[in-house]
Each structure stands twice: as C-alpha cells, then as structure tokens.
C-alpha cells in the first residue's frame, strides 16, 4: 500500500474471543470504579485543585478534614456534573474527618463493605475525584490491626494501611474493594508518607457526632506530660501496675489541672482508675462524655501516691488547622 493512501493506518486488533483471567479482572476493577464513582464528589473548598468526598447519605458528604481549607462558599460537584452548594456540618482534626451538608438531599450513598472485613493482601482501589472525572490507583491492604490513636489523639477503630501510591485527590476519597464497596475513607494526613484508610465504623461514629453537635467533644485538663521510669522501690512499695508514669512538665495557667492543684514534677500513674504510662493513654481516658465531670488522677508526689480530683474541661479545637 502506498504512502499516499492514508487508509493504511492500523486498525485496532480485535480482543481475543476467550476472555482471559487478567481481562476479566481488569473489567471487574473498571466496573467497581464505575459503580463507586456515582457516590464520589469533587469538593471546592481549597485553592489549587478540588478535593474528594464521598456521599454517605443523601445530602451528606464525608471527607478528609485537612483538605477543607475554607468554611464558606463551599461547592460540590456530583458525579453527574451538577454543582451543589454545601455547608460544613463539622470537622474533627483528631480523626481527620469532616462532614458537609449539601443544600439539597441529593446523591447516591456509597455501598459499604462489612465492617472489619479488610484483610491483608486484599485488592483495593483508591478513588479520587480531584476534577470532573474519577481517578483510580490499585494496591493491596498491607497491614491491619486493632484500635489505634492518631497523633492528635483521635480514636480510629481499626488500623488499615494500604500499599498504593498517593496521588492528588487521595485524601477524602474512598478505598473500595474489587466489587466497588467502600472499605474506608482515605487520608494521607494520619501517618507520614503512608496511605491510611479510616474504617467505616470510625467514619460512622464521628460523622454522627459532627452532624448532631457540630463537633467531637474531647476532655481537657491542661497538662503536658513526659513518660518516666519509676524507681523499682516505689513501684513495689505501692503495688503500682506499671513501671512507667507520666511526669508533669507543663501546666496551663487556669486549666482544670491547675485549678485542682497538680504541680510540676508530679508523676501521673492513673486516670479514672486506669493505669497510664503513655501520653496517648491519658488522652484516651479523657473522653468526651467526661467533660464537666470529675475524674481522679493518681499522682506520685515526693514518692507517695495521692488522689486528686480534676473537673474535666472541653478541649477547644482550632477549626483552621
């Protein structure tokens, strides 16, 4: 065929008639993405590119708190291209979850996998919508574990780490299984350079609190503490359950601990009857439902234990973080 005939360009080679395992896997993955993408939205609440959110219930979107950089003039683009105004129902920096209320009860809620079903090695896709179209990355669940606390003290019901690359739009997007069901809400803000997904149980719990009260209440006593090893003699003499306590290294002026008479150098060994040997354990004991109530701190002062009652205050969260 001569060069003057432009019809000599190659035609597509037809696909093999027997579908291969890889081909059907590929089709399944693309179908899973297509199915879940009806429940993804692009959120316009920051400068550069939009972030991703997931329709949790009609009119309710869950996303990653750290991607919401302004609280006014938020708009959301649905999968069908329509644009809807939204207001911030609340945000919880400790779990990196934010909830938006759309101005109309629209959207297809995402189908969810069974809670606690994530298994190491399971195929997952991370979906984002940092623009008009959904984007995907493939990987596996690389690690699972029990309940853990974020570095801001938020309680995450299950540890689920994903082995996949983090691209624009990852945070606030959904991790889905090969059948298109959500296994978690993705966040790159909870662990350095590691793709974490927030389990559905945590999303449900935090979203519920945010929708009801606009915030997740957390207790506050105003102490800065540092773990210290306790002298063996002191541990034995007072039958202490742990060999480490928390030495008070700072006290906020006027805070509940200050008012209760806690001193610098006191070593906290228990809070509300629970032994504490790590700052996160103390944080964990100061749950939202204890706000306004009195808890007993057991401290070592001059080597002798003392019980001090502290009225728990509410932690103020900077909403612009």
């Amino acid at each position: 065929m001569s060069a003057s005939n432009p019809a000599s360009t190659p035609a597509s080679t037809p696909a093999p008639t027997t579908p291969s395992v890889l081909q059907s896997l590929s089709d399944d993955l693309a179908a899973a993405v297509a199915k879940a993408s009806h429940s993804l939205v692009a959120i316009h609440a920051r400068r550069r590119i939009p972030s991703t959110g997931v329709i949790w219930r009609p009119g309710i979107v869950v996303t990653a708190h750290h991607t919401i950089q302004r609280e006014e003039r938020i708009t959301v683009t649905l999968a069908d291209g329509t644009s809807v105004g939204a207001t911030l129902a609340g945000r919880d920096p400790t779990t990196d979850i934010a909830v938006l209320r759309l101005n109309s009860e629209v959207g297809v809620p995402i189908e969810r996998a069974a809670t606690g079903a994530a298994r190491v090695g399971q195929l997952v896709l991370a979906l984002g919508m940092p623009g008009p179209a959904v984007t995907a990355a493939l990987g596996v669940v690389s690690a699972t574990g029990g309940e853990w606390r974020t570095w801001h003290g938020g309680r995450i019901d299950q540890f689920i780490r994903l082995d996949l690359a983090i691209y624009d739009g990852f945070s606030g997007g959904a991790a889905i299984d090969a059948s298109g069901r959500m296994v978690g809400l993705n966040s790159s803000g909870l662990a350095r350079a590691s793709a974490m997904t927030i389990p559905l149980a945590t999303v449900e719990r935090v979203a519920e609190q945010l929708l009801t009260s606009g915030r997740v209440r957390r207790g506050y006593i105003g102490l800065g503490v540092q773990p210290v090893r306790l002298p063996a003699g002191v541990v034995a003499a007072h039958a202490l359950p742990r060999e480490v306590g928390l030495m008070v290294v700072s006290i906020e002026e006027g805070a509940p601990a200050h008012a209760a008479g806690i001193s610098l150098g006191d070593v906290v060994v228990a809070c509300a009857g629970e032994a504490v040997a790590d700052p996160s354990e103390l944080l964990a004991a100061l749950t939202g439902d204890r706000v306004g109530t009195s808890v007993t701190l057991r401290v070592l002062r001059g080597g002798a234990p003392q019980d001090i009652a502290v009225t728990v205050g509410e932690r103020q969260t900077r909403s612009d973080r």
Binding site: P10, A11, L22, A31
Partner: protein, 205 residues
C-alpha cells in the same frame, strides 16, 4: 481460559502475566545513541522495520536499536513531531514482530495496564488506568498508576491482551503518562500523507 481453568485465578493471572510479558518484550526495542548511551525504548509498529518512540528519545538522528531476538540495527528518524512528542524510526529489517494496537477509547479508570521499557534492562510494571485525558472526545493522554523510570520513554503501555494503548512519555506527580494510541495513529497518518514514510505492506499488519 480453558487450559488454565484448573488453576486458582491468582495463579492463572500470574501465568498470563508471564505470557503477556514475553509477548510485549518481543516488540519492545531499546534505543541508544551511536556512542552507546541508552536513550529510551520504542515499539515495533510494523514488521518491515518501523519503530515508534518519543520525539524526546531520538536526540541522535542515527540511533542504534536493539530488537529482541533480531539483533542491533542503525535507525533513521523518518518522522519527528515535537508537539505530539512522537517519532518514527526506520530500520533495515523485515519480518519483525509488530505490536498489536489496542483501543485507548476502551480504557476506563481502573482498567489494568502494563508498561514495559528499558530503564536498566527490561522492566515491567503493572497498574491501573488513573485517568484518560481527551480532546474533542479522542483520548490524548493516559495517566496510569504504573511506576515508570526515564528509560521507559517511548516504550509501550499495554492492555491485558498485550495490545499497545499508549507510548509512555513522562512521569507527572508520580503517575506514568502515555500518549494514547489514537494520537499515534494520527501521527502516522500525517507522516504517510507528507510522504515521509512509504510502506511496502499495510501498516495494519
């Protein structure tokens, strides 16, 4: 697949990947300069010695191409399109294994794709389509969740049947970005129209 139906899907998928890699390796070439510096990769587009690569790969107008199983050839750049970042190299060979060409339009976010190239030896990477960029409804770029290295430039992005759906061209924000096969077709059509290339057998081999 009948011959593998007694295997677990994961094992069968692994075997298929092996076969796919062998197929793709057959039409992926390494491109070097005359002094031996590796420049990138290319795809045998026609059995009579036509190889498609990126324009930015052919910094040497007479590159040396290593074609798996067929040896080394001195190439001649016969068409060069810096805007599309595509180039066509002719080598004096016949009966090469040409790449089956796939349909970039059939790709969707989540479709499995492979990339093969010559960063340091032959490297294969597997991932999914992240997004397809279109202009006037035609696929232009395919962003894929595959780990590319500079030597992948000019090499194939392949669907699960081993068909070329794009020419890997760049890495943007960690994503591999390939020039869609639709664009390669337009480039070849223009090259043919301009008389830069003439074919003894149809390109649709």
């Amino acid at each position: 697949m009948d011959s593998t139906s007694f295997l677990s899907p994961a094992l069968a998928a692994g075997l298929e990947l092996d076969g796919l890699a062998a197929l793709v390796r057959g039409y992926t070439v390494q491109i070097a300069s005359r002094n031996g510096t590796a420049l990138g990769s290319g795809v045998v587009w026609h059995p009579d010695g036509l190889v498609v690569t990126n324009a930015h790969v052919v910094r040497d107008p007479r590159p040396v191409l290593s074609v798996g199983g067929a040896g080394e050839f001195e190439g001649r750049v016969v068409a060069h399109d810096a805007r599309r970042d595509l180039a066509l190299i002719s080598i004096d060979a016949a009966g090469l294994v040409a790449a089956p060409v796939g349909d970039a339009e059939s790709l969707r976010a989540g479709s499995l794709v492979l990339a093969l190239g010559h960063p340091l030896g032959v490297a294969l990477t597997l991932g999914v389509v992240h997004a397809v960029t279109t202009t006037r409804g035609m696929p232009r770029y395919i962003a894929a969740d595959v780990r590319l290295a500079p030597g992948n430039s000019g090499g194939p992005l392949v669907d699960t049947s081993g068909r070329v759906v794009g020419i890997n061209a760049m890495i943007v924000g960690g994503l591999g970005v390939a020039i869609a096969s639709t664009v390669v077709r337009a480039f070849l059509r223009d090259a043919a129209r301009s008389g830069a290339v003439s074919y003894t057998t149809p390109l649709a081999a």
